[in-house]
């Protein structure tokens, strides 16, 4: 089966991102395909490379990046939500005159159409949120 995943919350305040990460891992272990993970609302905060959680705590952003690399996952951060919350890649940095960017490895910024497309192309869409 092809899964589309929507993550509505950031890495630490809610359990959503962890639940999504664990679900994605289990789906991959079972031989399913992850069509896309789409990060919306505060979920875009999963896409910053500047988090420094304590050593004995889970590094959620790094885990998403690692999973993306190992399984060639498409992790998409919504551009409109990212602009509101300050998640920036090089393109956005230049377009909006910012002095830096912070997107984490394995994530890309794109439009809401990617979420709709995930709903169309996937066999199942699972939403993790608050």
């Amino acid at each position: 089966m092809k899964f589309g995943i929507q993550v509505n919350e950031g890495p630490y305040t809610h359990e959503s991102s962890i639940s999504a990460l664990n679900f994605v891992r289990a789906a991959l272990d079972a031989g399913h395909e992850i069509f896309r993970v789409f990060f919306y609302h505060d979920g875009v905060n999963n896409g910053t490379r500047y988090t420094t959680p304590p050593q004995d705590d889970k590094n959620i952003v790094a885990e998403w990046s690692k999973l993306a690399k190992e399984h060639n996952l498409d992790l998409v951060v919504c551009v409109a939500a990212a602009q509101r919350r300050g998640i920036v890649d090089e393109g956005e940095q230049q377009r909006n005159g910012k002095d830096g960017n912070n997107i984490a490895d394995g994530f890309r910024i794109s439009g809401l159409g990617q979420l709709i497309e995930a709903g169309i192309q996937s066999d199942r869409l699972v939403v993790f949120g608050d």
């Binding site: 609302h41 409109a80 709903g119 169309i120």
Partner: protein
């Protein structure tokens, strides 16, 4: 094989206290470009999103409620409100915006987009969907 799926946007949160109402509306508008069979469901505090007469000037934030009236122009015309949620909150259809769409098959006759439905009927509507997005 048809690529048209029944997309349902489930709205259960009030506007302004959180961003979900506005950001979910942004997804709805984008979905119009994909020619899917779109329905909006408002239940629980989600019914407050459609209350008319919203005035945010005192808060200094954007009043996004006029956007709902554009849904008909985007061919989004299936808007279901749960009757039990309205009743529980002491609201009636009169408290809500009057949302319409124009039926090109009937000489552009203006029709109501909002349908107030009881829970049993809404359960059937939800059951018939292909993809459900929650915010």
């Amino acid at each position: 094989m048809s690529d048209v799926k029944k997309f349902c946007f489930l709205n259960r949160k009030a506007p302004y206290g959180t961003v979900y109402a506005w950001e979910s509306l942004e997804v709805v508008l984008i979905s119009a470009a994909f020619d899917q069979d779109v329905s909006l469901v408002f239940a629980d505090d989600g019914v407050y999103q459609l209350v008319k007469g919203q005035d945010t000037t005192g808060l200094g934030i954007k009043n996004f409620s006029p956007t709902y009236s554009a849904l008909g122009d985007y061919d989004i015309k299936k808007i279901y409100i749960e009757k039990e949620s309205l009743d529980a909150r002491g609201l009636t259809l009169d408290d809500l915006q009057h949302l319409t769409w124009e039926d090109e098959n009937e000489d552009w006759a203006e029709k109501d987009s909002i349908m107030v439905v009881e829970k049993a009927e809404l359960a059937k509507i939800l059951e018939s969907q292909d993809v459900l997005l929650s915010f």
